[in-house]
């Protein structure tokens, strides 16, 4: 088998293309070329990836399989899934749950939608009618999620809320795939129902389904990969190999660390060849390494960036990964899993069942590997998927910021939950001999959903104490209350405003462009000029100070419009700029500009003056 692998020309061609992609993206392209490549080519590579994935599923008979296997029971499951997701949406308000990921992903989808550029806007203007993006920035996040949201924008028109709608729809698909995975892994449809109920009762899943992040897509792709692995190993043919490869590539384009799933994917392909004793590769598989080029290029651009690992966000951190982080991170993970007061979006039932089953799953996997000649195709798939998920967890536990009970990090535990589910279902399959046992498990999961999951979702404690989320909600509420959208916002989360068609600039840039802001205030370019600031309260004196990052500095006279308590000792404030002092000149905000008449002699002169003014106007944008 090994000899035929080395003798196979198509395998060599595949390796050669992979090597070329690696060489070009890692060594040949200059930083500027890398930026241009991802910005200009990202959308198109994602489009081709999705088309080829869809094509491979159709060719492999995926739709036919569904048609042949759907029964009345599955219709009830669909109703159950709809009911569960409805409960999610009833309790989880759509909004930006994790910052700044979700806003930047939305910004990238905006850039793709308007210009097919895989970048997010940093400065934009609507002065000439259509939104014009003036400055673009490449994000470090993979591009599949923004691409899919872009497609929703393309087909229904741009709306910032499209990202929420997309994740809501994805919630339904995710639970259906969990059902399929449970059914296939447990060998019983009730095992699938158990999986659905267990995830339905996890507030974290509900939260992600109401947000605009890429976590749920990543998780859905992991489940998809698991199903593709089973399908391929059951009948290793070219069509299913394509499904396997392109599902793996799609997963790689979901989250940074999901690239590790390429290893179980490749092992599955090799195992399939070994079990069928034949090596078959099709054209789409040969060219598949091309789709890694975006990930490789982005990784190259951002691995040189000192802020890429966000080490500055914690004091005293010198290395992003270390064994020293393992022990405290495990403690944080347990604190997350076994929180009973609702301040963590976790499910204790999920954790208890999963953590009990996990060691048994490990033992079962070792036994299967020892008796590998008798191991069934399905079991190979679950072992490889479990291994991939375990490595994913291990990486997080070695990461300096891998504390699951941290608001920003808890979402990363979703693949861990999938691992726990897989472990429970596989272990239960070996223990339960009848459908009744599965039904009892479903009952436990249902009671957990009703008894713990829903009240925790209703309480929303895990969101209320996440201050960036509360501040973002405040922005959304403020925007919703405005009858007009012709104001300028100075805010360090400027992308939020731009994605809502509001001209905006960061506080830092505003500080530097003092004069330009004066120009716009004087000319009444915007009906209003607002600034968003965090206000810190001294716990001893009660004195309030503006967060230094949000401080506009000297020369700005502000009037508070709305102030809201975000958490203890922290307020968020929206103020109106009422005057700017520049070169000893006080420029007050005005309700109307000064006017004259009789200056212009003809229309051409008018247009000439307008062009001059517009050019200067755009130059002066902060």
């Amino acid at each position: 088998m090994l000899t035929s692998l080395f003798k196979n020309r198509t395998v060599w061609l595949l390796v050669l293309i992979g090597a070329l992609v690696g060489l070009v993206t890692r060594l040949v392209l200059t930083p500027n070329q890398s930026f241009s490549f991802v910005a200009a080519g990202g959308y198109w590579l994602m489009l081709a990836l999705v088309i080829l994935l869809g094509r491979s599923i159709v060719r492999a008979g995926g739709l036919q399989w569904v048609r042949e296997h759907v029964s009345r029971f599955d219709v009830y499951v669909l109703i159950l899934v709809m009911a569960c997701t409805s409960a999610w949406w009833a309790h989880e308000k759509p909004g930006f749950k994790i910052l700044a990921d979700e806003v930047l992903l939305l910004g990238t989808s905006m850039g793709m939608h308007l210009e097919r550029s895989s970048t997010y806007p940093l400065r934009a203007s609507t002065v000439q009618g259509p939104m014009q993006i003036l400055d673009r920035v490449l994000d470090k996040r993979p591009l599949l999620f923004p691409f899919l949201v872009t497609t929703v924008h393309d087909l229904t028109g741009y709306r910032p809320e499209n990202a929420f709608y997309f994740n809501r729809g994805l919630g339904i698909l995710f639970l259906l795939l969990v059902y399929l995975l449970g059914w296939q892994a447990g060998g019983n449809r009730w095992a699938g129902v158990f999986g659905v109920l267990l995830f339905a009762g996890l507030p974290l899943a509900a939260q992600q389904s109401a947000g605009s992040g890429f976590e749920l897509l990543n998780l859905t792709a992991v489940v998809g990969l698991g199903l593709a692995m089973v399908a391929y190993l059951r009948s290793p043919d070219v069509a299913r190999l394509e499904v396997l490869v392109y599902t793996g590539l799609a997963l790689t384009a979901c989250r940074y660390e999901s690239v590790i799933f390429l290893i179980p994917m490749a092992l599955t392909a090799l195992l399939g060849w070994w079990r069928s004793q034949r090596i078959e590769i099709s054209g789409p598989v040969i060219i598949s390494p091309l789709f890694l080029s975006v990930w490789l290029t982005q990784n190259r651009i951002f691995s040189g960036d000192s802020t890429a690992w966000q080490m500055a966000s914690k004091e005293g951190i010198t290395a992003p990964f270390s064994l020293d982080y393992l022990s405290p991170n495990l403690v944080h993970a347990l604190a997350f899993f076994f929180d009973f007061n609702g301040y963590q979006p976790s499910s204790a039932t999920f954790a208890v069942l999963g953590l009990l089953a996990l060691p048994l799953f490990g033992l079962w996997a070792v036994r299967c590997l020892r008796e590998h000649s008798q191991t069934k195709a399905d079991d190979w798939a679950w072992i490889l998927l479990g291994a991939g998920l375990s490595v994913n967890w291990a990486i997080l536990m070695l990461y300096f910021w891998g504390q699951f009970d941290d608001r920003i990090i808890s979402r990363l535990s979703l693949p861990v939950h999938l691992l726990l589910l897989l472990a429970v279902v596989v272990v239960a399959r070996t223990l339960l001999k009848s459908t009744r046992g599965w039904q009892i498990l479903c009952g436990i999961a249902a009671v957990s959903f009703l008894g713990q999951g829903l009240p925790v979702m209703a309480k929303q404690a895990y969101e209320i104490d996440y201050s960036p989320g509360v501040e973002m909600e405040m922005r959304r509420d403020f925007l919703a209350a405005q009858p007009e959208r012709d104001f300028l916002f100075l805010d360090n989360d400027a992308v939020f405003w731009i994605t809502h068609w509001i001209p905006a600039s960061s506080v830092e840039k505003s500080r530097k462009n003092h004069e330009a802001l004066g120009y716009h205030l004087r000319n009444h370019s915007f009906t209003n000029m607002f600034v968003f600031q965090s206000v810190l309260v001294d716990d001893q004196t009660g004195e309030r100070t503006i967060d230094p990052d949000d401080d506009l500095g000297e020369g700005f006279e502000l009037k508070t419009v709305w102030e809201k308590k975000v958490e203890t000792l922290l307020f968020a404030r929206i103020s109106r700029v009422v005057a700017i002092t520049h070169d000893d000149e006080v420029i007050p905000a005005i309700d109307r500009v000064a006017e004259t008449t009789g200056h212009f002699s003809d229309v051409e002169e008018v247009d000439k003056a307008r062009v001059l003014y517009l050019e200067n106007w755009i130059k002066q944008l902060p």
Partner: protein, 608 residues
């Protein structure tokens, strides 16, 4: 023998009647009436003439219902599913990506106003001033516009059944879009297989320009629908020439002629189709509808006479005395090439259709030159499309020699839609030939069309969503007024009054304000209006801004003392709504002159 003689006599009588009808149509349509008389006749009786034609057409179409039903019934289930999927998908996307809004500066509002008039007064005209008199909003001055009014008639019928709403025009166009797609499919399906027709429909329908028009209130989509419908009816007639099919073709042609100005040209091509039909049938077919058809075209002739005698409706630029000139041809051709082969994402073009369509048309011309096919034996649908293609080509040349015929101008692009039918038809004909060589090509062409739509078309749509600055300004002004207290008010607007009148809000152009100042004061005194608002645009006088000046086109006489209420920057212009606080007494002529040239002092710096 007697029977034959009687039959000949009938035919002769019909021929004589047709000739008389044609002569009468020319005399009464173009010669007998003066421009003013022609306009007045259309204004008073145009509604009844076109409504009668429409009614007759619908009755004839109902008679054809069994044929239409058979076409649906005989279609394989799989083909029907594919067709509905594509038409439904394209329609839903088109409805979602563009908001219902005015896309063309003036046309759409005029058509809305005309439909309002047809709905309430059965009079073809557009109001300029309108007021509430004893509880009823009535137009005080109505003029006959240059635009043909078939679109306005159809919208007015919707108003008749559902009540007047501005949105009715938008909804009508939204529904027309899938109808156009369906008609095109049935046209090309007559000559190619279902799969190729599907590909042709993907090339034709996946167009950002069609999507834009599906959400506007213009007449262009109706014109396209009528062109394709008339082509389809012509193809049916040529396939089996008889009285029934000819009748419905004639009436479709009459209605098409009243859809857009230049659509009168299709009367000639329909004539050619009829002659070819007679040749194919080996006899002269002259149903009653054919005899009356020239007379039914009289309103079009009268409207044309009125337009020719009313140069102020031509919208000519300064120093121009003619709308068409050969000198426009060459520069406009450059704009056309830029439109067809535009690979950016700001113009509403479909480069895939252009590339495939022009290549196909080129190949067809080359094939005709090489093989010299016997046209008499050609498929009736190809002959029909060929004849109509002549008119579409002539229209294109006419458009290119028009002073405002730059196709890459967002206002002009819509006029190319009938030509895209020819391009797509060319594509399906070539695919039919290529299908024997490689059956997979049609799939690639369809995929290319959809990918080009997704990759270029829809981003262009996103760019053009809010490109009509005037509509944005008007919407903002109306929003601001809606936020004010609900008192009776008069709006002196710098734009067309129609946008306000359509909402039942009295409005007057700024140009009219000066010589109606006393009337305005009278009604202010008598409480007809509680306030008078003025909308104006201000321009920056230099790059630095600071001081703005009222646009020379928006200047209101100095007798109106204004107090600014609210303002906003839109597109480098400052749009301001002011309230009239006082109307000064009319000065004598000398003073009036001095007021108009007087330049008020700049506000002191401290006030800035």
């Amino acid at each position: 023998m007697l029977q034959r003689l009687a039959a000949v006599d009938v035919l002769v009588w019909r021929a004589v009647a047709f000739v008389v009808s044609a002569i009468a149509a020319i005399v009464f349509g173009f010669i007998y009436f003066s421009s003013e008389q022609a306009g007045e006749l259309v204004r008073q009786y145009g509604y009844y003439a076109i409504a009668a034609t429409l009614l007759w057409f619908v009755l004839l179409l109902v008679r054809e219902w069994p044929d239409i039903k058979r076409a649906w019934r005989d279609m394989p289930r799989d083909e029907l599913r594919r067709l509905l999927l594509l038409v439904g998908g394209l329609s839903i996307v088109a409805w979602c990506v563009f908001p219902f809004s005015y896309k063309v500066l003036f046309d759409e509002l005029v058509l809305q106003a005309t439909s309002w008039n047809l709905h309430r007064l059965r009079e073809v005209g557009t109001m300029v001033r309108g007021y509430e008199v004893e509880g009823v909003f009535l137009p005080l001055f109505v003029y006959l516009d240059k635009r043909p009014y078939f679109f306005a008639l159809l919208v007015s019928i919707i108003h008749d059944f559902t009540g007047f709403r501005e949105n009715n025009a938008f909804l009508f166009n939204a529904v027309l879009y899938p109808v156009v797609l369906g008609l095109f499919y049935f046209l090309v399906r007559r000559v190619v297989s279902g799969r190729i027709a599907w590909t042709g429909l993907a090339c034709f329908g996946a167009s950002p320009l069609l999507a834009q028009n599906a959400n506007g209130a213009g007449m262009d989509l109706l014109n396209l629908a009528m062109v394709v419908l008339t082509m389809l009816l012509a193809a049916r007639f040529l396939a089996r020439p008889d009285e029934r099919r000819l009748s419905v073709l004639f009436l479709a042609c009459v209605l098409l002629a009243q859809t857009r100005y230049e659509s009168l040209l299709f009367v000639l091509t329909t004539g050619l189709v009829v002659l070819e039909g007679w040749r194919r049938a080996g006899r002269i077919i002259l149903p009653v509808a054919a005899i009356f058809a020239p007379l039914l075209l009289v309103p079009s002739g009268l409207h044309n006479s009125y337009l020719s005698g009313t140069p102020e409706l031509w919208e000519l630029k300064e120093n121009m005395d003619s709308r068409f000139a050969v000198e426009h041809l060459w520069p406009n051709l450059g704009h056309a090439v830029n439109y067809f082969f535009y690979f950016g994402r700001t113009i509403l073009s479909a480069w895939w259709l252009s590339v495939c369509g022009f290549a196909s048309l080129g190949w067809i011309v080359f094939s005709i030159w090489r093989r010299r096919p016997v046209w008499r034996q050609l498929d009736p649908t190809i002959v029909a499309v060929g004849f109509f293609g002549l008119a579409i080509g002539a229209n294109l040349i006419l458009l290119l020699s028009y002073f405002w015929g730059q196709l890459d101008d967002p206002i002009v692009s819509r006029l190319i839609m009938p030509f895209t039918v020819l391009l797509a038809f060319g594509v399906v004909l070539v695919l039919r030939s290529l299908d024997q060589v490689n059956a997979g090509i049609k799939n690639w062409v369809a995929m290319g069309a959809l990918v080009a739509y997704l990759g270029w078309g829809l981003p262009a749509v996103a760019h053009n969503r809010e490109i009509n600055q005037q509509a944005i300004e008007l919407a903002w002004e109306q929003q601001q007024v809606a936020l004010m207290d609900p008192v009776s008010r008069l709006i002196l607007t710098d734009k067309t009054t129609l946008g306000w009148l359509m909402k039942g809000q009295p409005s007057l152009g700024l140009n009219d304000a000066g010589f109606r100042a006393e009337a305005i004061q009278f009604h202010l005194d008598h409480g007809t209006f509680k306030e008078v608002l003025v909308t104006q645009r201000y321009r920056p006088v230099n790059a630095e801004g600071r001081v703005f000046e009222v646009d020379p086109r928006d200047v209101i006489p100095a007798r109106f003392v204004l107090e600014p209420v609210v303002e906003r920057m839109i597109g480098g212009r400052l749009v301001r709504i002011s309230r009239v606080v006082e109307i000064l007494p009319r000065p004598d002529e000398t003073e009036e002159e001095s007021v108009s040239v007087e330049e008020p002092a700049l506000l002191p710096d401290s006030a800035i």
